[in-house]
C-alpha cells in the first residue's frame, strides 16, 4: 500500500499544478452558479429544499470535469512513457492504477467541495437559509456521483490503447447516459416492454423524466444511467439522512432509489476493477 500512497501523493502534487484542472473546475463552478441564479424567483419559492434544486445542474458538469481528470490517468502514462519510470520502481500495475484512481478521486472531491461551497453561499444569499442535513446530503451525493464518473474514466483509460480512443469512449458514455438515454435508450426500452407485455403504458418521456406513474421496472432501468441515478437520489439521500439523524420519513420508494445508489457505487468500482484485470494482461511497449 505504500506504493499506492506514494504514487497517489506524487500524482496529486503534479495535478495541483495543472491549469486544465483548475480551468475546468472554475468553469463548472461558474456554470452551476449561473444555472442557480437564472432560476425564476417563483420556482425557487416553490421548491422544497433550494440547495438540492441548485445542485441539479452538477449532473451535467461533474462528468466533464471527471472525464478531463480521468481519461488519460493510465493511458496517458503509457503514451508518455512515465509508466516506465513508475513501474521501474517497486510497484505493481495494480498499485499504479489504484494510486492513479485515488489521486484523481481526491482532486475531484476537492474540486467538487470547493464548487459546492461557492454554490451554497449563493443559495444562502438568495434564500437566507442553508439547512445542515441537505448540505451534507449534497456532499455525499456529489462525491458518489463524481466517483462514478471518475471510475468510468479511469477504467476506460486502463483498457484502451490510445488517448484518442479513451476520449472517444468516455465522451461516448457521456452521450449515451446523457442525451441518448432519455431520447433513445429509454423509449426503446418502453417499446420493448410494450411488445413483451402486450400493453400500452403512458410514460411521459418529454423533457426531464418524471417518476410518478411509470411501472416499477422502468424506475430501475432509468437509474442505470449515473445522470438519472444522481437526479433521482438528490432528495432521497436527504430523506435517508433525516431518518438517520433527526427522525423523519420519506415518500420515496426504497427499492429503485437504493438501486440507484448501488448503481453509482458500481460505476465507481466496476470499471476500475475491469481496468485492473485488463491492464495486468497487456504488453507495455
Amino acid at each position: 500500500m505504500n506504493s499506492v500512497a506514494a504514487i497517489a501523493r506524487t500524482d496529486i502534487a503534479d495535478a495541483i499544478h495543472s491549469r486544465t484542472l483548475w480551468g475546468t473546475t472554475g468553469l463548472m463552478t461558474a456554470l452551476v452558479a449561473i444555472s442557480w441564479l437564472s432560476l425564476s424567483t417563483e420556482l425557487v419559492e416553490q421548491v422544497d429544499t433550494p440547495l438540492l434544486t441548485a445542485i441539479d445542474s452538477f449532473g451535467l458538469w461533474v462528468p466533464l470535469v471527471a472525464i478531463v481528470l480521468g481519461y488519460e490517468a493510465v493511458i496517458g502514462e503509457r503514451e508518455s512513457g512515465r509508466i516506465r519510470f513508475l513501474l521501474g520502481l517497486p510497484s505493481t500495475r495494480r498499485e499504479l492504477i489504484i494510486g492513479k484512481y485515488l489521486s484523481r478521486v481526491s482532486v475531484l472531491v476537492t474540486a467538487l467541495v470547493a464548487s459546492l461551497g461557492v454554490l451554497a453561499v449563493l443559495v444562502f444569499v438568495r434564500v437566507d437559509e442553508i439547512p445542515l442535513v441537505p448540505l451534507l446530503s449534497a456532499v455525499i451525493l456529489l462525491v458518489l456521483y463524481g466517483l462514478a464518473w471518475i471510475g468510468m474514466a479511469v477504467g476506460v483509460s486502463s483498457i484502451v490503447s490510445s488517448k484518442t480512443r479513451a476520449v472517444a469512449v468516455v465522451v461516448g458514455l457521456y452521450a449515451l447516459f446523457g442525451p441518448l438515454w432519455g431520447q433513445i435508450v429509454l423509449p426503446a426500452c418502453v417499446r420493448f416492454g410494450e411488445l413483451v407485455t402486450g400493453t400500452t403504458q403512458s410514460i411521459n418521456l418529454t423533457g426531464r423524466l418524471t417518476y410518478a406513474d411509470e411501472p416499477t421496472w422502468f424506475l430501475y432501468v432509468a437509474r442505470l444511467s449515473p445522470l438519472e441515478a444522481f437526479d433521482a437520489a438528490r432528495y432521497y439521500i436527504r430523506d435517508l439522512l433525516e431518518i438517520a439523524l433527526v427522525g423523519g420519513q420519506t415518500t420515496a420508494a426504497h427499492g429503485p432509489n437504493l438501486f440507484g445508489l448501488a448503481v453509482l457505487l458500481c460505476w465507481a468500482i466496476a470499471p476500475v476493477a475491469l481496468g485492473v484485470w485488463f491492464f495486468d494482461r497487456v504488453d507495455l511497449e
Partner: protein, 314 residues
C-alpha cells in the same frame, strides 16, 4: 545464483518475431553489456526482464524470481534506467528522487543521490526545464536509490555529454565494486568496451554471441594500427621501431627515402603507440598527422551483425 537468467525466451508481436529463443545468463556481480543495432530486439528483451512485456514462450528469472509472478520483489532489489521513460514535468528532480525513496522504503538522502549524478544545484528545478542529459542523470540517480543488487540500464549513455558519460562509467565501476550486478545495453561500443566484463551481441531478434570483451577481440584481428604522416621518412626508422616490444610490423610508404610519406605501425598493444611516435620523432621526422585503426568492438560488431541476406526477409 545468476542475477539474470532467461531460458528459451521468445516474443511474438502479431506476425513478427521480435525476439527468438534467447538463452542468457548474467552472473551475480558482473558488468554485462548488451549490444545490438536498433530493432535488434534488445529493448523487447529488457522489457521482458522488467515485466513490461510478457514473453510468448520461455522463462525468465531475475535474482531467482520470476518477474511476471512477483514484479514487486524484483523491482524492490533492482534499479532501473528504462528507455523511453518520462517524468512529471511540473515536479522537481528532488521530488522524483523522494518518490523513488518512498517506494523503495529506503533511507537514502535525495540530495546525496542527486549529487552523485552531478545534479547539485538543480534539485528544486522543475524537470520539465531539464535538458535531455539532465533527465538521463536523474534517471540514473533514481536507479541507484536503495543500493540495488541489480542495475538494469537501457541505453544509459544516450543524451549524455562526455562529462555525463564519465560520471556514468565511474558510477558503474563503483556499483560493480560494491558487488552490484550491472546489465547495460548500448549501441555506443566504447562504453561497453570500457566497463563491461562480458558482452552479448544481438541482431534480428537472436543472440549472436556472448563472450568477454577480450575474447571477442581475439576472435578478430587483435592488433591496432598506427598510421603516421611524416614530413620525411628517416632511413633508420623501421629498425628503431622494430626494436620496440609489442610492435608487430612496420610498413613504410614514401615516394623515396628522405621525402614525406606515411609509416604504418601495427601494435599488439595499443599502449605502445606513444613510444612508437617518440621513436619516429627521435629518428628525425616530424609527425604531421596521426591516425589509428583499432580493431574495436565496432569492427567486431560489424563482423557479427552483417548478414549475408541483408535486406531480404528471412
Amino acid at each position: 545464483m545468476a542475477a539474470i537468467e532467461t531460458n528459451g525466451v521468445s516474443k511474438r508481436f502479431d506476425e513478427t518475431h521480435a525476439v527468438r529463443d534467447i538463452d542468457l545468463t548474467v552472473e551475480s556481480g558482473e558488468v554485462f553489456g548488451f549490444l545490438g543495432p536498433n530493432g535488434a530486439g534488445k529493448s523487447t528483451t529488457i522489457n521482458m526482464l522488467l515485466d513490461f512485456v510478457r514473453p510468448t514462450t520461455g522463462a525468465i528469472s531475475i535474482l531467482g524470481v520470476d518477474p511476471q509472478e512477483q514484479p514487486r520483489v524484483v523491482r524492490r532489489r533492482t534499479g532501473v534506467l528504462p528507455e523511453g521513460y518520462a517524468f512529471y514535468d511540473r515536479l522537481s528532480g528532488r521530488r522524483h528522487v523522494e518518490l523513488a525513496i518512498d517506494m523503495y522504503e529506503s533511507d537514502d538522502d535525495p540530495v546525496d543521490i542527486l549529487a552523485r549524478v552531478g545534479l547539485t544545484g538543480d534539485e528544486e528545478t522543475a524537470v520539465g526545464t531539464y535538458s535531455k542529459g539532465m533527465r538521463q542523470r536523474l534517471a540514473l540517480g533514481i536507479a541507484l536509490v536503495d543500493d540495488p543488487d541489480l542495475l538494469i540500464l537501457d541505453e544509459p549513455s544516450s543524451g549524455l555529454d562526455p562529462n555525463g558519460i564519465r560520471t556514468l562509467r565511474e558510477i558503474v565501476r563503483e556499483e560493480a565494486d560494491h558487488g552490484t550486478t550491472v546489465f547495460l545495453s548500448s549501441h555506443v561500443l566504447d562504453q561497453v568496451e570500457a566497463v563491461c566484463d562480458r558482452v552479448a551481441i544481438m541482431n534480428d531478434g537472436t543472440l549472436l554471441t556472448v563472450d568477454t570483451v577480450d575474447g571477442l577481440r581475439e576472435t578478430l584481428d587483435p592488433n591496432s594500427t598506427l598510421i603516421l604522416s611524416v614530413d620525411t621518412v628517416p632511413e633508420s626508422v623501421s629498425q628503431r621501431l622494430a626494436e620496440l616490444d609489442r610492435v608487430d610490423t612496420v610498413a613504410v610508404d614514401a615516394a623515396s627515402t628522405g621525402r614525406g610519406g606515411t609509416i604504418s605501425i601495427t601494435c599488439t598493444d595499443s599502449g605502445v603507440k606513444s613510444a612508437a611516435i617518440g621513436r619516429v620523432e627521435d629518428a628525425g621526422a616530424t609527425v604531421t598527422d596521426i591516425d589509428v585503426e583499432d580493431s574495436s568492438l565496432e569492427e567486431l560488431f560489424a563482423a557479427y551483425t552483417a548478414s549475408p541476406s541483408d535486406g531480404e526477409p528471412r
